[in-house]
Amino acid sequence: MNPDLPDLDARLLAWMEQAAQRWDDGGPGEAAEAEFDRLARELFADQYERNIPYRRFCRARGAQPGRIPGWEEIPPVPLSAFKELTLSCDPPESAAAVFMTSGSTDPSRRGRNHHPHLRLYDASLQASFRHWFLPDRERIRLLVLNPPPAQQPHSSLAYFLGRLVDSFGAPGSAFFLDEDGLQVDRLSAALAEAERDGVAVGLLGTSFAYVHLLDALEASGASFALPAGSRLLDTGGFKGRSREVSAETLRAAFGDRLGIPDPWCVNYYGMTEISTQYYDTSLRRVWLGEDPGPRVKAVPPWARIRVVDPGTGRPVPAGERGLLVHVDLANRGSCLAVLAEDVGHLTADGFVLLGRAQGSEARGCSIALDELLAANGGRRR
C-alpha cells in the first residue's frame, strides 16, 4: 500500500496493479467483476460527495450512492461538463495536473480534467501499453512525433507520450515535433540509423503527424525497411484538418514507407476527459501466434465501455451503434463515468470505434448547425 495516497486511491492503485498482472484477454471473471462493481460504487460515492457540480448532475437524475444497483447506473457526464463546469473532487488549485482539450484559444471554452495526482493515470497507461504494445520486451527505442511534455504542460497526449518514454524508452528515444512542426530530416536520420543498426523502434504520434511524415517521405521518395519488432502507435482523428485519411490507407502506407507490418501498427483511443486508453488488439494477438482478427479495441480490467442511445441514455441492443460511455476507475479526480461524443458498437471482446457523432445533414432546406457555423466563421470546440 502507498501511505502517501488517500485510502481509496491506494486501494484503487493496488487493485489496478493486481488486475493488470492477472489480465485475462477473455475478460474479467466473476470475482473481478464483483470487485470492479464494488470499487466503482465506492469511487462514485466519493466523487458524489466531493465533486459538487457532479452531485447536482446526479441529483437531477435521481441517482445517489447507495441507491444504485450497480456501476451501470452511475450517471455519465457529457464531455461538455468538462468545459462548462469545474468537475474536480479536490480544490482545483491543488491539482498535480490539469489536462485540457485542444481547440479554442479561450481557456474557458476548453474541457479541463483535474488530477490530484497522476499515480492512477500512470498505472493505467503503463499497464495498457505494456500489455498491448510491448508484450515482448521491457524497453524499446521510442521515436515520438509529438512535442516533449514540457512544451505542452496541459496536454494529456504530451504527458502520455512523455511518460511512455520515461517508462519504456530505450537509449536513442527522442521527440521530433516542436513549434516549427515535424522535424522530418532529424526523424529520417533516426529511422535510417535504426534500419542500418538493426535496432527495432516504436513510433508514437497522432495520425495527423504521420500524414505529414508520409507526405514528406513521398515527396523525397524515401522509404525504410525498419527491423523486425519495430512497431507504430497512432491516435486520433483528423477533426478540423484539411485532409482525412482512412485507417486502412494509413496502415498500408506505414507498410510501404516504413516496413512495419499491418498488425504491428496499433491505433489507440483516448480522451482528455478520462484516464484510460483503449488499444487495438492486433499486435498482441500476432505476438501470441494468433490471427490478428478484425480491428477491435480492448477494454482494460479497470474500465468498462457501455454503448447507449443518446435519446434515452439506455444501452442499445448488442452490436448496434450508439454513443460510448466510459466507466474508468483511473479517472479519480473528476468523474469516473463519462459520456463521449464518439460512436461505436460492442463486440465479443471489446468495441469498435466508428468516429465522432457528426451533426447529420439536415433534411432538405433547413440548415445544419455545422454548415451555418462554418459559413459564419463561428467557433466550435
Binding site: 454513443l323 461524443e341 447529420s360 432546406c365 451555418l372 459564419n376
Partner: protein, 501 residues
C-alpha cells in the same frame, strides 16, 4: 402505427415513355422509411431521351397555350386533392408518414394546408405578384416604358426537389408550369413520392400538360446525368443544402438562370402585447405549432423566439407556457423517430445548457419533454449570439427589451434569414417589418402561420415566377418606325381612280 406496406410503390412519373420503353429500363427498389419504392436507374442516355421529349411536349402543349388555361388546369388538379377520396391523396396520407416518420395527423393537415396555397384564386396571386399583366406570358403587352414586353419562361427547367417537408415540390412544379416550362424533376432521397403523386393529378386533369413533367430520382451529384440535363435545360431550380447548392452552382452553365432555395433560418418575435394575461397562452400555442410542424425541418421553422419584457407575463413564464404547449402538440402529433447523430446533438445541447443553469446567475433554464428528447425549450437571457437550433423541436427563448435587441442578434445571419413570425400591436407592425426586412428577413407573418407562406410569396426574396422568365421588349420607337414600312406607303404608287369618287 399502420403496418408497413409490403407492396412496392412506383416512385417515378414518366408519361413520355410507352410501356415497352419503360420495360426496357433498368430498375431498382429502395426502402425509404418502411416503404419499398421502385425507381428506374437514371443514365445520361435516359435523361437525353426524356429531355428531347419534354422539349417536344413543351412546344406542342405549353408554349402557345394561354396562361389562364394552364392556371385553370392546375386549379382543377389541386382541387382534386381536397376530395378525401382522391387516390393520390389517399396514397400520400398513407405512405408519406411511413416514408418520413412524421406523425400521420401532421402530414394530413400539413398537406391540406399547404395545397390550399394553390387553389385557383391563389394561383392568380402568384401571377399578380410577379406580373402587372400576366398576359405578358402569352404575348407582347404594353409596358411602362412605352413599348411592349413579353415574358418567356424556360422551355425546360431541371428541378431538384426538397424532401424535408412533404408537399413542398408542388410550389416548384406550379411555378414552372405557370411560366410554361416543362420540368425534369429529381426527387429527394428522403421523400421521393409526393411530386410523383402531384404530377399524377395533373395527368388526370390534362394528359397533354402532364407530358411536360418527368419525375425521377438519381443520387445527388451524379455529374454525368446532371450535365446531360443542364445542357438541354434553360434553367435550374434547386432546393438543397449548402454543399449541394455549391456543387450545382459550379456546374450550371454560365448565364443559365439558377434559382437555389435553401439553408435559411427563421425566427419568431413576440411583443409584450401578445403576453397579456388573456393572450399569452394562445401565443404560446401558436409558437409551439410553428416549432413543431414537420419537426422543425422546414426553412420556415423558427430556431429561436425573442420575447419582449414588460408584458402580462414575463419571458420566463412564456417559456414555461411554450413548453407546456410543446408537450401538448407532441401528444397529438409525436415527433418522428430520429437517428443517433440527431439524438446526440440534442443531448449535447441540453447538457451544455443544463450545466450553465447550475449557476443561478446564468439566466439559463432548460425545459424538456418528460421522457426522451421529443422537445426542448432553452430559456437563455444573454445569448452570446444567435445560435441555430439542432432541430427536431429544440427552440431557444431569449428575452429582449425591444425589437432593437433582436436586430443586434440577427445581424451576423443576414444572408440566411427568411421568415419572421411576429406577434405585436398593429401600430408596431410597420416599424418591426422595416427593421426585420433590413436585417434580411424576406417574409413577415403572424406567429402560428410560419409553416404556411401565402400564395405568391417572394420565396427567399425572389419572385418565384419572375426569377425564371426572360423578357423580350419591343421598343415603342420601333412600333412607330415600322409605320414607315406600311405596305400602303411602300407599294408602287397607283393613280387614284377618280371615277370611283
Amino acid at each position: 402505427m399502420t403496418p408497413p406496406s409490403s407492396d412496392v410503390v412506383d416512385a417515378f412519373f414518366l408519361p413520355q415513355l410507352d410501356p415497352a420503353e419503360l420495360a426496357a429500363l433498368e430498375w431498382t427498389t429502395r426502402q425509404v422509411g418502411t416503404v419499398p419504392l421502385r425507381f428506374p436507374v437514371v443514365t445520361p442516355p435516359l435523361v437525353e431521351q426524356l429531355c428531347d421529349r419534354l422539349l417536344q411536349a413543351q412546344a406542342e402543349e405549353l408554349a402557345e397555350r394561354p396562361v389562364m388555361e394552364v392556371l385553370e388546369v392546375l386549379g382543377r388538379a389541386v382541387a382534386r386533392w381536397f376530395d378525401p377520396r382522391c387516390p393520390q391523396r389517399v396514397l400520400a396520407e398513407e405512405l408519406l408518414p411511413q416514408i418520413t416518420g412524421y406523425a400521420p395527423e401532421m402530414v394530413r393537415r400539413g398537406l391540406k394546408e399547404h395545397l390550399r396555397t394553390f387553389r385557383r384564386d391563389r394561383l392568380l396571386r402568384f401571377l399578380a405578384q410577379d406580373f402587372d399583366n400576366p398576359l405578358v406570358l402569352d404575348g407582347f403587352h404594353p409596358n411602362r416604358a412605352g413599348g411592349r414586353s413579353r415574358a418567356y419562361g424556360p422551355r425546360l427547367t431541371t428541378q431538384f426537389f426538397a424532401g424535408n417537408v412533404p408537399g413542398l415540390p408542388a410550389w416548384n412544379l406550379v411555378c414552372a408550369l405557370l411560366v410554361k416550362s416543362a420540368t425534369l424533376g429529381k426527387s429527394a432521397g428522403a421523400e421521393p413520392l409526393f411530386p410523383v403523386l402531384f404530377a399524377g393529378t395533373i395527368a388526370e386533369e390534362d394528359p397533354g400538360l402532364a407530358r411536360c413533367l418527368a419525375v425521377l430520382h438519381w443520387p445527388g451529384g451524379q455529374e454525368d446525368v446532371e450535365e446531360t440535363a443542364f445542357t438541354r435545360s434553360d434553367a435550374v431550380m434547386a432546393t438543397a443544402g449548402l454543399r449541394a447548392t455549391e456543387s450545382l452552382a459550379r456546374r450550371v452553365p454560365v448565364g443559365m438562370p439558377f434559382v437555389p432555395y435553401g439553408h435559411k433560418v427563421s425566427f419568431a418575435v413576440v411583443g409584450h402585447e401578445a403576453l397579456a394575461l388573456n393572450r399569452y397562452a394562445d401565443t404560446a400555442r401558436r409558437v409551439a405549432r410553428d416549432v413543431s410542424q414537420y419537426d422543425q425541418q422546414g426553412c420556415l421553422s423558427p430556431h429561436a423566439v425573442f420575447v419582449e419584457r414588460g408584458g402580462g407575463v414575463d419571458p420566463r413564464a412564456f417559456a414555461a407556457a411554450l413548453a407546456a404547449e410543446m408537450e401538448r402538440y407532441e401528444r397529438s402529433r409525436p415527433r418522428a423517430a430520429i437517428g443517433l447523430e440527431e439524438s446526440a446533438a440534442i443531448a449535447g445541447v441540453r447538457a451544455r445548457y443544463e450545466f450553465r443553469s447550475y449557476d443561478a446567475d446564468s439566466g439559463v433554464q432548460v425545459l424538456t419533454s418528460p421522457h426522451g428528447n421529443a422537445w426542448t425549450v432553452l430559456f437563455e437571457e444573454r445569448p452570446e449570439r444567435f445560435e441555430p437550433s439542432v432541430l427536431n423541436r429544440l427552440v431557444r427563448v431569449h428575452p429582449v427589451d425591444g425589437i432593437e435587441d433582436v436586430v443586434a442578434q440577427l445581424q451576423p445571419l443576414r444572408r440566411y434569414l427568411q421568415t419572421a413570425g411576429i406577434a405585436c400591436a398593429p401600430e408596431r407592425l410597420d416599424a418591426w417589418a422595416s427593421l426585420l426586412g433590413r436585417c434580411g428577413a424576406d417574409r413577415i407573418c403572424a406567429v402560428g402561420q410560419m409553416p404556411q407562406p401565402a400564395a405568391g410569396w417572394h420565396h427567399d426574396g425572389l419572385g418565384s415566377l419572375a426569377s425564371l422568365v426572360r423578357w423580350t421588349d419591343v421598343e415603342g420607337a420601333a412600333e412607330a418606325a415600322v409605320e414607315r414600312y406600311d405596305p400602303e406607303w411602300t407599294q408602287p404608287a397607283s393613280r387614284p381612280d377618280r371615277s370611283r369618287r
